[in-house]
């Protein structure tokens, strides 16, 4: 962040920071009154709050809501300059939608930290003071890396019937479950609206149903032997209960029916 002014573009996994201005615009929701007008919502310039950005915006009403005469609750903005909207659950299935949200979240958290750090005369003191926030920012950055590499994997040539589709499902589940788990981050940084958060959650549920019939196949693909798993519960053949029972008798305590210690401790007590 501190080198951005120098014109030196960040590379590798931090390259998204080079687009921080655009990512700061990654706004999906502005609650404001707009004059009644014929639908579809007219193109409007960005609210004055963002004079710097010349991006044009399309404004659409909430899907399914009856537009009231004086105000549209702006469910989202589509910033034509490259950031797109998530007005339908299915949008969350598109890799770039997801990546955009994760990049915006990481960038915004990072900028917020940098801004707070700049308030400290001694940067090292500021770093120590803000270390808890910095840890969360680092987590957001690392989660972005994992999501982006998962998406990159999908660009590779993956053979086999239905294999790529399963990996796509897992990629969406991974990203959306993270988004759901860290919803507070995404909402507080304005990357998504509560509405979009709940759309994502609805989608997650349907993804679980889609993965369900393939769950056993997906874990069989790890190709672990029963020996390596070392688990009666995880046996390949699923023959759990008889084996659990069998294992129980191997315990050294079962070497004798009457346990060691009975005569010296239990018996006297029982006979008292």
């Amino acid at each position: 962040i501190s080198k951005l002014g120098s014109g030196k573009k960040p590379v590798g996994t931090t390259s998204y920071i080079g687009r921080v201005e655009q990512l700061m615009l990654y706004h999906s929701d502005v609650q404001k009154e707009v004059p009644n007008s014929d639908y579809p919502g007219p193109e409007v310039l960005l609210p004055s709050a963002f004079p710097c950005c010349s991006a044009r915006l399309l404004v659409k009403p909430l899907a399914g809501d009856i537009p009231c005469p004086f105000s549209y609750h702006l469910d989202h903005f589509t910033v034509v300059s490259g950031l797109t909207s998530h007005d339908f659950a299915e949008d969350w299935l598109k890799p770039n939608e997801v990546l955009g949200a994760f990049e915006a979240r990481a960038a915004k958290k990072l900028v917020a930290c940098a801004q707070n750090l700049s308030k400290f005369t001694n940067p090292e003191e500021g770093f120590q003071e803000l270390s808890a926030d910095l840890v969360e920012t680092a987590v957001a950055h690392c989660q972005l890396i994992v999501v982006s590499k998962f998406i990159e994997k999908l660009q590779q040539d993956i053979t086999g019937k239905g294999v790529k589709h399963q990996i796509q499902l897992l990629c969406s589940i991974y990203a959306l479950s993270l988004l759901h788990k860290h919803l507070g981050d995404f909402l507080s940084t304005g990357c998504i609206t509560p509405k979009q958060g709940s759309l994502a959650n609805d989608l997650l549920r349907s993804l679980y149903s889609e993965v369900r019939p393939n769950a056993i196949g997906l874990v069989d693909a790890f190709n672990y032997t029963d020996h390596y798993l070392g688990s009666v519960l995880g046996r390949y053949d699923g023959d759990v209960y008889p084996k659990l029972y069998e294992e129980a008798w191997k315990d050294p305590l079962n070497d004798s029916v009457v346990p060691d210690g009975f005569q010296e401790y239990i018996r006297p007590m029982l006979k008292q």
Binding site: H141, I145, V211, P213, G217, D220, F222
Partner: protein, 565 residues
Amino acid sequence: VVDHLAFERNKTQFDVEEMKIVWAGSRHALEVSDKMARLVASDPAFRKDDRPMLGRKELFKNTLKKAVYAWKRIIELRLTEEEAAMLRTFVDQPAFTDLHWGMFIPAIKGQGTEEQQQKWLPLAQRMQIIGCYAQTELGHGSNVQGLETTATFDPKTDEFVIHSPTLTSSKWWPGGLGKVSTHAVVYARLITDGQDHGVHGFIVQLRSLDDHLPLPGITVGDIGMKFGNGAYNSMDNGVLRFDHYLDLLHLPDRLGSSFFKDQLRMKGNIRVGPPLVGYLGLESLLQFFIFAWSYYWALKVYLTWKQESFSLTERVSSSFLRLDGISLFPRCLKICRDRIKFTCCTGYQNVLVEISTRDLTETFECIFSYANSMSWNGKDLGCLVTREGKYAQSSVPRQLVYGTMVYVRQTIVRDASSALARAVCIATRYSAVRRQFGSNKGSLETQVLDYKTQQARLFPLLASAYAFRFVGEWLKWLYMDVMKRLQANDFSTLPEAHACTAGLKSLTTSVTADGIEECRKLCGGHGYLCSSGLPELFAVYIPTCTYEGDNIVLLLQVARHLIKT
């Protein structure tokens, strides 16, 4: 065998065999892992189900037996290094070999010079020495720069003296250190000319190769029982203290070093330190002295006569033959055809530094490097410690010393996906077998895997296992790319590699540790049984959150990188 999960497998909508290749990374990798897994699973010597019932000593002995048996099988079957590594993975019992192959050898490969690698790698790869990685101390772990062990260069005697100045400087935790390792890569503060030049790696012999007794000046033992029954208690994590230790007995065996060892050893446990005189019988000292001087002059005459290049590995090294503080052998100059190689004969093979290029002429005057050979090849390695004890600053980023750490961390990320996959595999299969509630009019109860709550907890972990697998593949590419760039003296991506491996090690190990515990709970009460495999998996896995860098400290390193970015 009845497949109680057949009805589940019939529902699968994709080609599982192809997915196995995606998971393994390639068809070849799948074949190797499949072959090794079956080899281990079919050999009764690698039985694991009895482990939770063994006491500490039985478990440790069981580990030694398995590790040595595995090594024997590797030799017998002439397995490749890749197959051998896979076989050790599937033996699935923490042992000293993990650190020997996973840390000691990579450290030498990553930081040793050509000559050091020629000297130590063959011994290590034939397991004629057993190494560990002694970095962490009782008082310092993540803060590598805070390590207190010292390696003081003594220009008078031309040797390094390794010492544990405080109790908290005791080396603490290294796997294999307690009872098995004969050598260690020890990280210590290089002190010379009264200056502290920071942490450097040294190869130090800990135990005699004859009777396995700790060498004079070495105190070494196990640090005690760890979390959970079985689990990591199969490993001898050790404590190590140096008392002004000189690597006295480290003589190349070819030179009849057993003679010296017997002499030194016969006089009982010698405390290393100031002049040895007084501890040894005079007559053997005289013998020793006469032999040494005659050997020296014979060598000197030979060299003068031959004036050819000679390999220092045939030299008795001076620091190991110190009597009364007098160095018997001055350093040696190695003159090869088109190159001038300076290699100190004192500990020259023991101080691990791969350092920067620097025009040799500039260092010619300072004569000797202490840690490596300088070769006249246009990008010569700079001097590190001169004969007079001067420290020549090297221009290579310090991070290079972390090369091993970056390598290890990318391995940890891959291991995270494997550990999480094991837990998820167990929980998923059991959730398909287990039925609870939901039955009506005599129908079967509902499979636990059909409950949305089970899916909402389990499927993100399943997705995470695949996510970590793929990011681990990318990280391995990144590490190889960085090491390739280093060959071309391009250090530009080192900070990125350091930040990525640190951050992803932290993220993946935290999620995996929590994920294994979540999978245990997903199996209900039976997940608490040792026979479920989950308690052991958890107990063995959770140290990853604090070793190789505490996860929170690593995230702060990532944040520092981002803010600087």
